[in-house]
């Protein structure tokens, strides 16, 4: 699945986009667990639930199943307008 990072998340991942495919990841909660291990600096933000998630360009709040073709975005609160 394609993972996209925005704003200061990119400074933690050193990347704005990457392909992650793991048998451990079946849903969004799995992905969060995976990310905490891969990027320890992300852990505190994920634990505090200040980050937002979009799956295929739609906000997702609850846990949902993920597919290998999904595009998942992880980002801080927005500040447009």
């Amino acid at each position: 699945m394609k993972i996209k990072y925005f704003a200061w998340i990119k400074d933690i991942t050193n990347n704005d986009e990457e392909e992650i495919n793991s048998e451990e990841i079946n849903n969004l909660d799995d992905l969060k667990t995976f990310m905490k291990k891969k990027y320890p600096d992300l852990k505190k933000y994920l634990d505090k639930e200040i980050l937002r998630f979009a799956v295929n360009q739609e906000y997702i709040i609850n846990n949902i199943n993920l597919d290998i073709n999904d595009e998942i975005a992880i980002f801080p609160p927005v500040s447009g307008g």
Partner: protein
């Protein structure tokens, strides 16, 4: 009409292009947002506005459709810029076209509320010797 672009724009021209399609439009309410020279008591030099473009288009379409269900809206224009923007630059224009004032007015405010809360844009504010990512307060 939704535009997400780096370039500046002429609001009058953009609004005219749509207004010219409808002789039943009597009311256009617009909001324009600009980069200010200070924010939270700090002197701002410029901002860099990042966008998740695919998602922004999708979300803007959704909110315009929602507004059209709530109000008698004839058309709607959203232009949102991204990239490096100096102070005094336009950031965003939202214009709502209706027969009557109330519909144009309330839908414009509704769309701006949404945009501030959910549109996937992130402001990186540049000061004299530093910069900072913002979260929207309003």
């Amino acid at each position: 009409m939704i535009k997400i672009q780096k370039e500046d724009f002429n609001a009058e021209n953009e609004i005219d292009k749509i207004k010219n399609l409808y002789s039943n439009v009597g009311a256009i309410s617009s909001f324009t947002g600009y980069v200010r020279n200070e924010n939270n008591n700090r002197k701002v030099n410029s901002i860099n506005l990042e966008v998740y473009k695919d998602m922004a288009y999708k979300q803007f379409e959704k909110i315009i459709n929602e507004a059209k269900m709530k109000w008698k809206l004839i058309d709607c224009l959203i232009i949102h810029r991204y990239g490096k923007l100096d102070i005094n630059s336009k950031i965003v224009l939202v214009s709502c076209f209706a027969q009557h004032r109330k519909d144009s007015f309330e839908s414009c405010n509704f769309i701006m509320d949404y945009l501030k809360k959910d549109a996937p844009f992130w402001k990186n504010e540049f000061y004299e010797n530093s910069n900072e990512w913002l979260a929207n307060s309003n």
